[in-house]
Each structure stands twice: as structure tokens, then as C-alpha cells.
Amino acid sequence: MSFHAFSGTDTYLASPELRDSVNVASALEKPLLVRGEPGTGKTVLAEAIAENLVMPLLTWNIKSTSKAQEGLYVYDTVQRLNDARFGDKDITDISQYIKYGPLGQSFLTDQRVVLLIDEIDKADMEFPNDLLHELDRMSFFVHETGKQHSAQFRPIVVITSNNEKELPDAFLRRCVFHYIAFPDKAEMEDIIRVHHPDVEAELLRQVLLRFYWLRDLPELRKKPSTSELIDWIAALRRGGVSTESIESELPFLGVLMKRENDLEAVMAAHRRGRVN
């Protein structure tokens, strides 16, 4: 049994659980749905899998206007009409006007590829349902040419979602699901050191303490994310804030919290009790 196992890369440290999820999805030939807060490395995962398993990566970035059909193919009627009108081309071969989308391409290649369907929740809410059949069978039919295309090598499909919309049950049932948890303090330290290599140890300690205290407040609607934390540290350092006042005043809080309600909630909680 030959078995290509995903094990992470030098720059992408995958947890054992994440590796297992990727490998199960790959072995069972089911799409891997990855969810998690922004900045937890959902999109980069597909790149890491492609790099690790030495496969090409195809990306389909979903927008609010994306249609499932576009992922498979588009029949360029206007081009054909134009060619017919100016008559310098053979237009009887319809297949030259079929333009394959990322999903279609991933079924047609002569080797196994990684297909990233990025931010599926951005699209219309029926969108995932429209993909069910193609993802199940890994094949599709081109009506214009009357041809059925089946994947010779079923791609490893990675789908990311930010949870902006709930996904339909029928779609979820067909996926392998992995939730990337928010980084804990130790992991966060590593991340911060990438962005602020020369940050003072005491400042970092204080900041992380407040940051995780904030994230634990139950009344917050939107928890601050990694990128906001990095901005906050930049603001604190540039503002020359002393480590003591981080504790007593929570300066530049607006960098972390963008909602008025959340700001008020944090200030109220801060007044109730200083964190240690």
C-alpha cells in the first residue's frame, strides 16, 4: 500500500490532529472543510499540503457572485458568435469555446492535485448544495459537447469557511471537518516574534495576559484576532507605553476592539477587577 501522508512543512506546523484529518480526507477522497477564526492559517494549509505532497495547487477564490457552474466550465457563446460573424476560424468544434474553471480543471489533470475552494461561505447560500453532485462523483457533464468528464485522479479538496453563513447539512455530511483552534499563549508568542522579533519580554508577557483575558470575556461579540493583537503591540511600542500602564489603563484599546459595545464591555470588566 503506497500511502502519501501529509506531515506539515518547515514553515507550516500542523498539529497531529490536523495531519490526521488531512490524511483521512485524502484517503477517503472526501473534501476537507476547514473552519476557524481569521488568521489561524486555513488558506495556507492547502499550500502546505501541495508543497508537502508535491502536487500542483489550484485555487478557486469564492466571491459573493460566484456560481457553482463557473467552477466547472463556462461556454463562451459570445466569442463563438463573434468568430462566426467574422468567419476566419472554424467554429464547428464547440469544445474550443468551453473554458474550464478550477474545479473542472482539477478533474481533468493527469495527476493528483490539491484544489482549494477558499471562503465558500462568501457565496450565495445555495452554492454549496450546487456542488454536492460534482464533489461526490468527481465528474461533470458538458451539455454543449455532450461529454462526460470523470476525474482520473480525484483531487484533494480543501474548503475553507469563516462561518459567515451556516453551511447546509447535506453539504456538511459529505465533508471531513476540521476546526483550527485559536493559537494558545505559547503558539501566539512564536507568531508575534515573527512580526516583532525584538519585542521586550515583559511587554510581551503583559500584552498576552491582557489579550487572552479579553478574549475570555463572555460579553464580547467580536473577539480580537491575531492581526489586531500584532497591531496593538505595534501601537504600544510606538507610543512608548510603559508595561505598568498596560495593566492599569489598557491603552490604544481601539486597535483591538472595533465595536462600541465591545469597548464598553471591556472597560466595565476592567473596572470590575484588575487582571493579574
Binding site: P16, N23, F177
Partner: protein, 397 residues
């Protein structure tokens, strides 16, 4: 034993399906369990639990199922037993039976036995991926460059102990209606009509016409079809509506995102509609209700959201408004009637369950607007009224 686990998960409210269950059996049989409860924990979760909000329930189910038996539970034995005598949770539908047949259990069993034999032969030193101490990326104490120690992960704590940590407690959401469900219900709110405005190229008609025209291109345009629903959403905020804030926010954000209405407006009020309606939740920026009413006509639908729960005089008396400094000249009930007269195609959604709709003010308001619960069924019924496919009737006085 395995089947019991399936039942156990469902008993904890996890909607595991047979198809997902069979995927797990297949994954185990082709060797993904690695006879390790930690790995089984993650494997079963990624194949059967598809929302992080359910992770906590899964943890509780897992811990209570394996508590005490974890040291005797041999996944390989259990699986082999199941594969030899596949017992299934319940009657299968045709589709599920087809899935089961496609699985080919005999072949799976053979593969799994081979895998086990291989494991025994090459124990402690193969490069396959089950044994311990080999060069595979998995298993205990391996030497693969990026390998991890799996069984020992979590500082030597067992899978059950890890599950009892309930790390995903904060992700729970015991929600009634989510934005997607509301969005789906709102989507039904459409009446298609030919619209004025810039015409669109009709590709099909153009091709037909050009063909009839002996290949000379003949472009055909048609007026676009548009939804002609115009919706005004009026939401009660503050006071007794506070417990329903999240639900109303979801309704609001779903309606806001639904871009299929011809026109969409929203306003807020507190307790009852009086001479001003507000564009912000804190009710600072207002607009006179009479001016809003002037903009409206019978082509608009108004959807009011509130618990309709107040003191009777707040509804029926002039000067009865809940805010002390506010003396209204026209009673709240009269304002509501004005809306109903102006836009007959209107409904009231109440976040409180129907069984406690016994306040006098609720009764009065139901004589003005048909009232529905703010649940999936209530919302769907209400929308059918707005679409005109269900009679639009208020309570008889």
C-alpha cells in the same frame, strides 16, 4: 460496541448519519485508527461532527462512553468483530443500503487483517505506519523528521481525560434560528415582475435570431426580471426585548444581506410605534413616522418585530409612551393602524412563544396585524402571507 457508540452520540444530540458512520468504519479498516484512542477520538470527530459548536457535546459523549473501559477497549478487535458481523444501527434506507454495498465489507476485512498481520511482523521497526518505533511519521517515539508522539500527546493523558477537559465549551451555541435559516426563509419572499431599467442581452434569443438571420448577428434585448417586494422592517429594541437581541440581530443581518428586494428599509422603535422611528439602535437619530408613512404605499410590506408586551395604556392612551419625557398625541395603537391602512400587506413577528401570548396588548395588536412566532415555521407562514399565498387576516375584534 461500535454501534452502541453511534447510538450514544445521537443520544447526546449529535445528528450522526449512517453514511458518516460507514465512512468511519472504512477509515478505520484502511488503517487510520492506529489502535490508539487519541487518534480514534479525532478520527470519529472529523468524520461525524461537522460544527465546532457540537464539539463540546462530542467531548461529553466520548468521555462518558469510554470512561472506565478505555484500557480494555481494543479498536482493532472491535473493528474486526464488526467487519465480520456488521451490525447496523437501524433499518436502512435504500440510499444507505447502496452506500453499504459500495463499501464491500469483505474486501475491507481482508485489507484490515493484512494490515494487522503486517503490524505484528514488523512491530517496532518497519516503515509502515502502524508499528511503534519505526520510521513512519506516526506512532510512538518514531524518528520521522517531523513526526509526533501521538499516544503521549497531551503530557501522557488519556483521550478520555482530554475529552473531559471540554476545551470547546465556549464554542457551544444553543441557538434557535441562525442567519442561514432566516436567509432561506426570506429568500422565498419574492414576486418576480418585469422591471423597467436598462435592458439585458438575451443570449438564447440572440443565438436563435442570428441563426434565423443566416448568421448575421441580431442582438435581442429584454427587460430584466426583478423582485418587486419592498420591505420595511420595524424592530422593537430595548427593555423586554433585550433577551431577544441576538435573534433580532440575526433577522436584521439576514434581511440586510438579502439583496433580492426591490427596496429595503429598516427602523427601530421602543415598545410601540409613536411619532418618531429611529435609524439606530440607541434611538438617537429619528425620523418622523408621518414622513415615513408618506413614502409608503400599498406596494410596500411592513414587518414589525416585537414582543407586543406592554402596559395597555402605552398602546391605547395618548401620552402613554413608556419614556417619561415623551408625550404622544396619537396613541400607539392608532399609529399601528395607520401602518396597516397604508400597507395592508403587513405582518407582526413575535419572538415570544405563542403559548404566552396572553397579554391584553398582544390581543389588541393581533386585531391589527396577523401575528407569527419568530421561529422557522412562524417566519415561513408570515412570508407566505406577504407573498399573498396565505390569507392575510388579523384577529376579529
Amino acid at each position: 460496541m461500535f454501534v452502541d457508540f453511534f447510538y450514544h452520540l445521537r443520544g447526546y444530540g449529535l445528528k450522526v448519519t449512517i453514511t458518516e458512520w460507514l465512512s468511519l468504519m472504512k477509515a478505520l479498516a484502511i488503517g487510520h485508527s492506529r489502535a490508539d484512542l487519541h487518534v480514534f477520538y479525532n478520527l470519529a470527530r472529523c468524520l461525524m461532527v461537522k460544527r465546532e459548536a457540537d464539539f463540546d457535546n462530542y467531548d461529553r459523549a466520548f468521555a462518558s462512553f469510554f470512561m472506565g473501559v478505555e484500557n480494555h477497549f481494543d479498536i482493532s478487535d472491535e473493528l474486526l468483530e464488526w467487519l465480520s458481523k456488521p451490525e447496523l444501527p437501524r433499518e436502512l434506507t435504500d440510499e444507505e443500503r447502496a452506500k453499504l454495498e459500495a463499501l464491500d465489507l469483505d474486501e475491507l476485512r481482508e485489507r484490515f487483517k493484512e494490515l494487522l498481520d503486517e503490524q505484528k511482523e514488523r512491530h517496532d521497526g518497519g516503515n509502515r505506519w502502524i508499528g511503534t518505533g519505526g520510521m513512519s511519521p506516526f506512532g510512538h517515539g518514531g524518528e520521522h523528521p517531523t513526526g509526533v508522539r501521538i499516544g503521549g500527546a497531551g503530557g501522557g493523558r488519556s483521550a478520555v481525560q482530554v475529552a473531559t477537559d471540554r476545551r470547546f465549551r465556549n464554542l457551544r451555541s444553543d441557538r434557535i434560528l441562525d442567519t442561514r435559516q432566516i436567509g432561506l426563509a426570506l429568500r422565498r419572499l419574492r414576486k418576480l415582475d418585469k422591471d423597467e431599467g436598462p435592458e439585458e442581452l438575451d443570449i438564447d434569443e440572440t443565438i436563435d435570431s442570428s441563426a434565423r438571420n443566416a448568421g448575421e448577428i441580431d442582438l435581442v434585448f429584454r427587460p430584466p426580471k426583478r423582485n418587486r417586494i419592498k420591505l420595511l422592517l420595524l424592530i422593537d429594541v430595548g427593555g423586554s426585548m433585550d433577551p431577544h437581541t441576538l435573534l433580532c440581530e440575526r433577522l436584521f443581518s439576514a434581511a440586510h444581506k438579502a439583496n433580492h428586494f426591490k427596496k429595503f428599509e429598516f427602523k427601530f422603535f421602543h415598545n410601540c410605534v409613536y411619532e418618531n422611528l429611529y435609524t439606530d439602535i440607541s434611538r438617537w437619530k429619528g425620523e418622523p413616522t408621518s414622513r415615513i408613512l408618506k413614502r409608503l404605499d400599498h406596494t410596500w410590506s411592513v414587518c414589525l418585530v416585537g414582543d407586543a408586551w406592554m402596559s395597555p395604556y402605552e398602546l391605547t392612551h395618548t401620552g402613554g409612551a413608556i419614556d417619561y419625557y415623551h408625550t404622544n398625541q396619537v396613541t400607539g395603537l392608532d399609529w399601528l393602524r395607520k401602518f396597516r391602512d397604508r400597507c395592508p400587506n403587513s405582518i407582526w413577528l413575535n419572538p415570544e412563544p405563542r403559548r404566552i401570548w396572553n397579554a391584553p396588548t398582544i390581543h389588541l395588536i393581533r386585531q391589527v396585524f396577523p401575528m407569527f412566532e419568530l421561529t422557522i415555521d412562524g417566519l415561513t407562514e408570515g412570508i407566505d402571507v406577504l407573498r399573498g399565498i396565505r390569507p392575510n387576516r388579523a384577529l376579529a375584534a
